[in-house]
């Protein structure tokens, strides 16, 4: 199309302004897509973290809170639950499997979770995928064995046989360590893309052992200290754990069991359905997500208005250009078409550059985001949703372009062939 060639040549003549306009559009498109992508990936990541678990039981707090600390390792439990409560329900006829978990310690910022072998057997993520060991084995009888999540092993460069010391509390910099009882790495899990990667797994016995000589929240000193060797010989059955993951024989019994647990008279417990709690979490986040989306839409609009302004201001200088075109036979609608094509060209370049910026940004920040936030941003082609957003932006640009096009149309009708301004 010759008009396109003319439009591009005319733009190239004003290339600095054109570049700035396209760049503004590119930045705004990049922002919009980044916001959308982070939102979608966050949701996907949350959804794929737990699978196949029918109920999560913890001390009575809030359902979203329980979900967050037990599955996502975000936040902390308010209370622990008694070992007897766990045993009571683990033995229940309706329960197929029960995974006890114990939280509260950390290692260099990564959380430590105490559990038993049923975790490796029954815990699932994504689409009913079980955990797989990349190397080594799960912990066995010795309480001071630890299985690392993939991220922990990679980031801290641990391999099988390494010894590490756990710290009390969950801060990245720990001031109180369990250095008298070091743990040995016996296994590393395969990457799951979930918070499991960022967790260190020890046995419940191990969790009990490192706190066995603590009284009132303070490690023992002097004679009160119990060495690792001594601890091995003690009964390391925990008295309390943080939460229990339950898998049921028949999902239809979910509600009745949930109600029963919630009304357990021996202890204040809370049982949640992970799917429901997740939905509640999303509805909480929903408002913030929408607000963010609307803001980025406005930014795109600003970019497009910038383009509109740039084209409109250029119209005056280009009256001569248009009169020349009229004199060589361009009809007024050719002139209008020229301007619409210009707007489209700018928008297309802006959108393409925006996509490029997005991929560049993801490529650079992918590792950092994954390590610090557990969010994996894939370098995937735009989704159908993203394509439709881009199409809408293009349509808006077309609409914007029709404003100067109309002005130019009227102008060229009025000016005719006279280039004497």
């Amino acid at each position: 199309m010759y008009l396109l060639r003319l439009a591009l040549a005319s733009l190239a003549n004003r290339r600095f302004t054109a570049f700035l306009t396209a760049f503004a559009i590119a930045l705004s498109v990049c922002l919009l897509l980044a916001v959308e992508r982070v939102r979608t990936e966050a949701r996907a990541s949350f959804a794929s973290t737990i699978s196949g678990t029918d109920l999560i039981v913890g001390a009575r707090s809030g359902s979203v809170n329980l979900l967050l600390y037990s599955v996502f390792r975000i936040g902390n439990a308010t209370n622990n639950i008694r070992w007897e409560s766990y045993e009571h329900y683990a033995r229940d006829k309706r329960v197929k499997w029960a995974i006890p978990i114990s939280l509260g310690d950390s290692h260099r910022g990564y959380r430590v979770m105490g559990t038993n072998s049923s975790y490796f057997e029954h815990y699932q993520y994504g689409r009913k995928q079980n955990l797989q060991l990349a190397e080594g084995r799960a912990f066995a009888s010795d309480p001071f064995e630890v299985v690392l999540g993939a991220e922990v092993a990679q980031a801290l460069h641990y391999k099988l046989g390494d010894k590490l010391v756990l710290a009390h509390g969950v801060a990245a910099i720990s001031l109180v360590k369990h250095d008298d009882k070091p743990f040995t790495v016996v296994g590393v899990l395969q990457r799951t893309g979930t918070p499991v990667d960022r967790t260190l797994h020890i046995s419940l016995g191990g969790m009990e052992a490192i706190h066995i000589d603590w009284h009132n929240g303070v490690p023992a000193r002097g004679a009160g200290r119990i060495s690792a060797e001594q601890a091995r010989n003690l009964d390391l059955t925990p008295k309390a754990i943080t939460a229990v993951l339950l898998g049921l024989n028949n999902k239809i019994s979910t509600f009745s069991l949930q109600r029963e647990i919630n009304e357990y008279r021996n202890e204040p417990l809370l049982a949640i359905l992970p799917g429901v709690a997740l939905q509640e979490l999303w509805s909480l986040m929903g408002t913030a997500e929408q607000a963010l989306f609307v803001v980025s839409l406005f930014v795109v609009l600003t970019g497009l208005i910038g383009m509109l302004t740039a084209i409109l201001t250029s119209l005056n200088e280009r009256r001569r250009e248009m009169a020349i075109l009229r004199s060589v036979g361009a009809r007024p609608w050719h002139i209008a078409g020229l301007l619409v094509l210009e707007a489209l060209a700018l928008a297309v370049v802006g959108i393409a550059a925006g996509l490029g910026l997005l991929y560049l940004g993801i490529a650079i920040a992918q590792g950092y985001v994954q390590a610090n936030y557990g969010l994996f941003l894939p370098l995937a082609w735009p989704s159908a949703h993203e394509w439709s957003l881009l199409a809408i932006i293009l349509g808006a640009a077309l609409l914007m372009g029709s404003v100067p096009a109309w002005r130019a149309y009227r102008q060229s009708l009025a000016d005719g062939l006279s280039i004497h301004l």
Partner: protein
């Protein structure tokens, strides 16, 4: 003479004769033309004006005399309030806006005083512009020279611009004199029947003026085009077949002591 194919015009056959005694089709035929800008006093009131095929006409018209408006009317850009304008037998007011635009580019080439060219296109591309918007001119150019590209190069060569490097350069990198010659080439490509030149030499220095006009004449004769040359420079009038004064033609003209540009 290059053969002309049938154009989508009224059936009267075109005559190539230059004899004023033949009852041939006039190129331009103005009858009782009346025009006023909205809300203003009548600007043009011309009872008759005629231009024959292949004729060169010098029209003396200082700025403000309505010559720009007259050219606009001849180009079909404006419509007269009264009377008729016939180009190659076609009454322009019978055509709709788009058709008039097409008719204009199919049959007319324009040369203005300055700023004729699109600065961001090359010299050659500027010359080729009319062929992009008029299929008939593109066809004629290709028939005569082999291709539009060849036509442009050939015309530029005739007008003294032979250097290929020059032709490929941006149009705004040439001197005024060179630019005017490029404009002439553009006006002539595809052999339009009419070439309208509006003060094309005013921006040139005296030496260049006559040379330019001679080149223009040669090309118009070669293409068989009529030339309507509008200027206030009386000294050039003698070069032309005929000369007229817009002030005399136009009954609505202001008295002699009007402003000159």
């Amino acid at each position: 003479m290059a053969s002309r194919e049938l154009k989508p015009l009224p059936p009267t056959p075109l005559s190539l004769s230059e004899s004023p005694f033949t009852m041939s089709q006039a190129l331009i035929e103005l009858t009782d033309l009346g025009f006023a800008w909205p809300g203003q006093a009548p600007l043009l009131d011309i009872p008759a004006l005629r231009l024959e095929a292949g004729e060169s006409l010098f029209l003396k018209g200082p700025s403000g005399s309505g010559k720009t408006t007259l050219l606009g009317l001849l180009g079909g850009v404006q419509q007269p309030n009264r009377g008729s304008i016939r180009l190659l037998g076609q009454d322009l007011s019978e055509l709709k806006q788009a058709a008039r635009d097409r008719f204009r580019v199919d049959h007319t080439g324009y040369i203005f005083q300055q700023f004729n060219l699109l600065p961001f296109l090359s010299v050659r591309e500027n010359v080729e512009l009319p062929c992009r918007f008029s299929r008939s001119r593109a066809q004629r150019a290709a028939e005569r020279h082999g291709s539009i590209d060849q036509a442009a190069v050939s015309l530029l060569a005739h007008l003294g611009l032979k250097d290929p490097a020059l032709i490929a350069r941006r149009a705004d990198s040439l001197s005024i004199g060179q630019q005017q010659r490029v404009a002439a080439a553009r006006a002539l490509i595809g052999q339009p029947e009419l070439v309208i030149a509006d003060e094309p030499t005013s921006a040139l220095d005296a030496d260049a003026r006559e040379a330019f006009i001679r080149l223009l004449f040669a090309e118009c004769r070669d293409a068989g085009s009529s030339l309507l040359f509008v200027s206030h420079d009386q000294s050039l009038a003698t070069l032309f077949d005929r000369q007229l004064s817009l002030a005399e033609l136009n009954r609505a003209a202001l008295p002699a002591n009007d402003l000159e540009a």
